[in-house]
Amino acid sequence: MKRYSVFAIAKEALNYHMGWEKAWASPEPKKQYDAIIVGAGGHGLATAYYLGKNHGITNVAIIEKGWLGGGNTGRNTTIIRSNYLQDPSAAIYEKARSLYETMSQDLNYNVMFSPRGVMMLAQTHHEVRGYMRTAHANALQGVTTEFISPARVKELCPILNIDGPRYPVLGALWQARGGTGRHDAVAWGYARACSAMGMDIIQQCEVTGVRSEGGVVKGVETTKGFIGCTKLGVVVAGHSGQLAEMAGFRLPIEAVALQALVSEPVKPCMDVVVMANTVHGYMSQSDKGEMVIGGGTDGFNNYTQRGSFHHIEETLRALVETFPMISRLKMLRQWGGIVDMTGDRSPIISKTPLGNCFFNCGWGTGGFKAIPGSGWAMAELMAKGEPGALAEAFNMWRFKEGQFIDESVAAGVAH
């Protein structure tokens, strides 16, 4: 793998950039792999990367039915934070956040992680109490957060309307080390690193069946034929229910459309990420200058990647009220992604009833921020066959036992 650097660019410039090599190879599948990962989203690619990097397993194929990074990884609003309430969540999201800090250097690919700070507004007394609880929990979890005053909120984000009239800002939970990253770059950076380790990224290849023998997985049926493997990691977000069915069991996952939109780009006017749960909306400004805005999920299950318009309207009402100056900006584009929701809004990183078959899913509306941590934990699970401390609580049997990791307690909006 040729290293990227400013010098490499200068050298290539003299040659009109004719000498750059492919960021990743596109090989035909081999017959058999030590491990197959289904789904080349951020979580799948990160799993493969850490299988190689942390566990030395590089005879790996990553199988993707479309183009890599084209699922939710390439559709999300890229908020990265770890100020979660429950211990297992805080642990894995904080692991991920800390890995994001060094990801560009680690992958030699600029993923533009930008710790610009994330604030979650408290606009009711009830919300104040809720965020005070998160702050107290975070203090014990090693996650640095603070509850800040309305004056400080205004100072950090001058375009915010903190005076109401309907929901004056009473304070905010502030994580200075949260921020945003460049979603495509995360997928591409991992893909390039995986390919450099000799892994096969196979795009335009859909998994259509899971083959097993005596309760142990043997490989996958795909649109490019059967591909054998010793271990199978399924990381397909919204399509997890379908893959589980192929593997012979059911998962408590629902697929719903979550929407987002961007405005036309304007010069910088907002440095931080703001989430407003009471009015239901959140916004940040991308490096390109677009206001990146997140909407809600539909109340019905579907796979259309579109979503209903009224969510856009509701979100914009909330945000125009929260940031009055945006009312003369324009919506450039809206889109949707199919998110995989579990009953407790927490992910599944788990062994399954099928031997050597592992699932990583359920990241729902907020899994971009978790990508490196999730990959790290999933790789450990696949390599060792048993979950490590990060993954343990996220096993799929918790729903049967009622041992939920309920984050909906703390997070009102999708993000």
């Binding site: 660019i9 410039a13 009109y16 950039h17 004719m18 492919k22 960021a23 190879a25 596109s26 479309g66 183009w67 990074g69 560009s104 250097q105 690919y109 600029n110 533009m112 930008s114 710790p115 606009q123 109490r129 005070m132 609880r133 702050a135 107290h136 929990a137 203090a139 014990l140 979890q141 309907r166 460049r182 495509d184 770059a185 591409w188 405005s263 036309e264 780009p265 304007v266 010069k267 009471t278 490096d287 390109k288 259309t304 914009l316 009402r317 945000l319 125009v320 009220e321 100056m325 009312s327 003369r328 900006l329 324009k330 919506m331 584009r333 809206q334 343990e392 049967k400 009622g402 939920f404």
Partner: protein, 1003 residues
């Protein structure tokens, strides 16, 4: 120089001069001008800077496809960034400024990026700015952010308002060109409800400019007549300045009407956002011309051929004395002819095709215009405006054969139908090799709820590229749509356009065909985002070869025009680089909106006080006059406290608590949820809903009840009253009323649809007052009327009667631990009743109290509060409420959930009371520390606080919370964590801090 011609201009009114300014320079135009036309008329060729390289940018198009001419319009409360000059109607007093440059449009420091362009190819930022690590956040990113972005964000609150409206029709036609008008006439005459939308102020689309003839009349005349006819039909609504923005599921269309953009400050809303439900949607949205990719195709003065024609014909604006035409199709000859007819020079028509045979080239020839076939443009010269073009052989590598001095270049690379609206909701496209474009695939249309097609594309939007074809296609398509609506009659009148014979176009994706990398890195695809042919090829070379990867890697098509000009050209380059056919490469997804929609319009009138519906109790006005401090509770606004004099909130809350405990407090409890559940199966239904038994509740009595989710978690609580044999009244929490009502209906409609139960949420029909405190009974007695004695109306009973002449229903329930009556009156009498209570209660010490005093008093009594003690993870057993769960019932919602191992575990944290050793107040949200760290290195915990207050009654901090072991831990001293560091020590106690035996409430 671009300038105004002395005559002509079908859309301008020369008698109405409109003065405006651009970057502070005074300019003049005419009514009917677009801002772009007026700028050109004032020789303003340079109008902006590109996004990445800050290259000079001029006007390219004449409509919504324009990527360059974006200006900052207006000032202060009407400042609007990124306004497209080509779709902005000129008005007197308009002020605008160019964007994305510093210090000025002419001298822009950012143009350094252009000098460095070679070092900044597509996606370069992914390969650098990584070291040292901190530099991204502190150095590189701030620089990138400052140089990116386009317009300046508005600083002041919006001076305008926005309106939203709904409309319904059988047939919605989007696009008021001749195809759309044809469709409207057919559907209108058939008697259907028709809405016809046109994004421009004027009707007719291209045909009047192109000189088409319809029904033997010049197109403009036919359009005028068609409008007259349509105007007479009461079933047809015409709406111009209204863009069809998005098509959504089930025939739902979003349209953005620019009501007062051209008349700012006239009192009308700026925009009106239409939500239209249509039986059939007809998209007659026309087509957009494509640029050609030759070196220097981005220099100001290079324009689309049809747009050049628009400026000349519609606005009498000359792009320059000499315009070179470059084309691969016949349509551009119309521009040559129009320019010639306007008395301007067309030194050469450069046609990449080797022969020309169509009617239009023959006419051009007859006019004496020079046509250079088989040729292309090697290069356009000029900096901030075109000075000359160099011609070459299209088949070659770009050797210059001839140079021609000129001020403008009009290019045409063919036409792409506007398929956006067709595609928004799943309509598929097919590649048309004749015209080298994607057009709607009628066999794979967007479908409605019934699985049948809901969108039909008409005319040019359907790939019918001549006026004659478009009219036929429009008639056919409309008939198809009418048939789908059940009207299977032949249209009464169908108009037709005179055919003009056009020869086939020839796809040209690169000019010249054999151009090397040097030329390719000067060929622009996306003018705004600075994406060149070489960038797309680089992306493909590096493996970003899926069309989505290419788009994202190079930012092709991600500019404010969303690729209206660049996408197909970019696709073709990508296909070539991949050695694939264009249809195999496919398009990126077309997403709403078609053109950007102002966020204010999407938010509508939901601003300020009416941002969300505001729910007010009948006593609200009284609270306001008393200076209440309100808090939002759902959509309600409830008094948090009623400060008097200079009291702080803490002081007034303490006063309210003390006064209620010692004398008399009045609480506006109207927000409390009240749901009537009635019917033969109502008792059985409530037994499923509540954990306790409600069917056995005697008439006249009240019972406290808990509701759980299916998972077993406590979701709401409240007192249920049995009204009569078949009727129960369920009180819910204020915030829970709507949710619980929906929850009831969910079960009744989806699961137990055969049970005979009716529910009604009557929360707002009643005003409710809690009369609380030792003097409560005295007050009611003073009011006079029904017997409220302990004997007649004991605790947990209710009765109907009158008090002070008001018809009331009185419940003996208490959430404070004091003697308490909750009294319901009709909402219309709420204010009067409340005032009467205060008047009568004055001598008994009556004072209103707010939600905070309510919360403190219930915490002093150890009563749980939904949302404080519960958070969706708590089961009643955790809160020592096992007594409210029936052991006898076979089933209730949540029963099975609660039987799961983890929920049944003895290790769960359970409710207890806490008293700090030093009397201080435990901070909200604090956790109880346990020794050591868990496997992830996090501090261990064994519980947490759920409610914590300073108790005015006890004069110390009290708290409720959950702790492992619950009440069995009584007497233990534990540590609560704080954000400042030092933990607070507290003793585990009984959560009932006040009147443990309930003597006060039962008097």
């Amino acid at each position: 120089m671009s300038t105004r011609l002395s005559k002509g201009g079908r859309l301008i009114d020369r008698s109405k001069v409109q003065n405006f300014t651009f970057n502070g320079t005074a300019m003049r135009g005419y009514q009917g001008d677009t801002l772009a036309a007026a700028l050109l008329a004032n020789d303003q060729m340079l109008v902006g800077r590109s996004f990445k390289y800050h290259r000079p940018r001029g006007i390219v198009g004449s409509g919504p496809e324009e990527p360059n001419a974006l200006v900052n319009l207006g000032r202060a409360g009407r400042s609007e960034p990124n306004q497209r000059a080509t779709t902005t109607e000129l008005f007197d007093g308009l002020e605008c400024a160019s964007q994305n440059h510093w210090p000025s449009l002419n001298y822009d420091v950012g143009v350094i990026n252009n000098t460095l362009a070679r070092f900044l190819p597509g996606g370069f930022y992914y390969k650098t700015f990584m070291y040292p690590r901190a530099a991204w956040k502190h150095l590189f990113e701030p620089i990138i952010r400052a140089s990116a972005g386009l317009g300046k964000p508005p600083q002041e609150p919006d001076a305008d308002r926005y309106e939203q409206a709904y409309a319904f029709c059988d047939v919605l036609i989007i696009g008021g060109g001749i195809a759309g008008l044809q469709a409207a006439l057919i559907a209108g005459t058939a008697g259907l409800r028709v809405i016809l939308l046109e994004q421009n102020a004027h009707w007719g689309g291209r045909a009047p400019v192109d000189g088409d003839v319809v029904d033997g009349m010049p197109a403009a005349e036919w359009v005028a007549k068609a409008l007259q006819d349509l105007d007479k039909m009461t079933n047809v609504t015409l709406r111009n300045r209204c863009t069809g923005a998005g098509v959504y599921d089930h025939g739902y269309v979003l349209a953005d009407e620019k009501v007062a953009d051209h008349t700012p400050g006239d009192g009308r809303p700026k925009h009106r956002l239409w939500r239209i439900r249509a039986g059939q949607i007809l998209t007659a949205t026309g087509a957009i011309e494509r640029p050609l990719s030759f070196a220097g195709n981005d220099i100001p003065g290079v324009m689309l051929a049809a747009s050049t024609r628009d400026f000349v014909v519609n606005f009498a604006v000359s792009p320059g004395d000499r315009t070179v035409i470059v084309t691969n199709n016949d349509d551009a000859y119309r521009t040559a002819i129009a320019l010639h007819e306007a008395g301007l020079s067309v030194p050469c028509i450069v046609d990449a095709r080797s022969t020309v045979t169509g009617d239009l080239p023959l006419r051009a020839k007859a006019l004496g215009l020079r046509i250079a076939t088989g040729m292309g443009i090697a290069k356009v010269s000029g900096g901030k405006r075109v000075t000359k073009v160099a011609l070459c052989m299209q088949a070659g590598e770009g050797a210059v054969i001839e140079e021609i001095a000129c001020e403008a270049v009009a290019m045409s690379g063919g036409w792409s139908p506007v398929v956006h609206l067709w595609s928004h909701c799943g309509g598929k496209l097919t590649w048309d090799t004749t015209h080298a474009h994607f057009r709607p695939d009628a066999t794979r249309p967007p479908t409605g709820a019934d699985g049948a097609a809901m969108v039909v594309a008409l005319g040019a939007a359907n790939g019918a590229m001549t006026a004659a074809d478009a009219m036929v296609d429009a008639a056919n398509g409309t008939q198809l749509a009418l048939k789908a609506l059940g009207f299977d009659a032949k249209p009464k009148i169908v108009s037709s356009a005179a055919p003009v014979q056009e020869a086939e176009m020839e796809p040209v994706w690169i000019m010249p065909y054999g151009a090397g990398v040097k030329l390719k890195s000067k060929m622009w695809l996306d003018y705004q985002n600075d994406v060149k042919v070489s960038d797309v090829q680089l992306a493909a070379r590096e493996g970003y070869s899926s069309v989505e990867h290419t788009k994202r890697y190079t930012t092709l098509g991600m500019a404010t025009d969303q690729g209206k000009l660049s996408n197909i050209n970019g696709l073709a380059i990508l296909a070539d680089a991949r050695n694939a056919e264009i249809p195999q490469v496919g398009t990126t997804t077309f997403r709403p909106p078609y053109t950007p929609v102002t966020l204010g319009a999407l938010a509508g009138e939901s601003r300020g006080e009416i941002f969300q519906p505001l729910r007010m109790t009948p006593m609200h006005a009284w609270h306001q006059t008393q200076g209440a401090y309100f808090e939002p509770v759902g959509l309600w606004r409830r008094p948090y406290t009623f400060p008097r004099g200079g009291e702080t909130h803490a002081q007034s809350v303490a006063r309210e608590v003390n006064n209620t405990r010692n004398a008399l407090g009045l609480l506006d409890a109207s927000t409390l949820g009240k749901i009537i559940v009635k019917g033969p199966d109502a008792g059985r239904f409530l037994d499923m809903l509540y954990t306790g038994v409600m069917s056995s509740l005697p008439i006249g009595k009240c019972r406290y009840g808990l509701m759980c989710s299916e998972q077993g978690f406590l979701s709401d609580d409240g007192v249920v009253a049995r009204i009569d044999d078949e009727t129960w009244l369920c009180h819910t929490t204020s915030g829970g009323a709507d949710r619980i009502h929906a929850w009831m209906e969910d079960w009744l409609q989806c699961e137990w649809w055969d049970w005979q139960v009716y529910t009604a949420n009557i929360t707002e029909q009643l005003a409710q007052v809690a009369v609380v405190g030792p003097n409560a009974r005295k007050l009611l007695e003073k009011m006079g009327g029904m017997d409220v004695s302990k004997e007649t109306l004991p605790f947990m009973q209710w009765a109907d009667g009158t008090l002070g002449g008001f018809a009331v229903r009185v419940y003996r329930i208490s959430f404070s631990g004091e003697l308490s009556y909750e009294i319901a009156v009709a909402a219309s009498e709420g204010a009067a009743f409340w005032a009467a209570l205060h008047a009568a209660g004055a001598e008994l010490g009556a004072m209103p109290y707010g939600t905070e005093a309510l919360h403190i008093m219930r915490a002093e009594k150890g009563f749980i509060m939904i949302g404080d003690e519960t958070d969706g993870t708590i089961i009643p057993q955790d809160l020592n409420l096992g007594w409210a769960i029936s052991k006898k019932k076979a089933d209730f919602l949540g029963k099975r959930g609660q039987e799961r191992t983890y929920l049944a575990s003895e290790d769960r944290w359970k409710l207890a009371g806490f008293e700090t050793l030093d009397g201080s107040v435990i901070p909200d949200g604090s956790y109880i520390l346990a020794p050591g760290l868990n496997a992830n290195g996090q501090g261990n915990t064994q519980g947490r606080v759920t409610s914590t207050y300073f108790s005015p009654t006890l004069g110390r901090g009290i708290a409720m919370g959950l702790i492992k072991g619950g009440l069995a831990r009584m007497g233990d001293v534990v540590d609560f964590n704080t954000l400042s560091g030092a933990p607070i020590k507290a003793k585990v106690v009984d959560p009932v801090f006040y009147d443990k035996d309930g003597e006060k409430q039962n008097v």
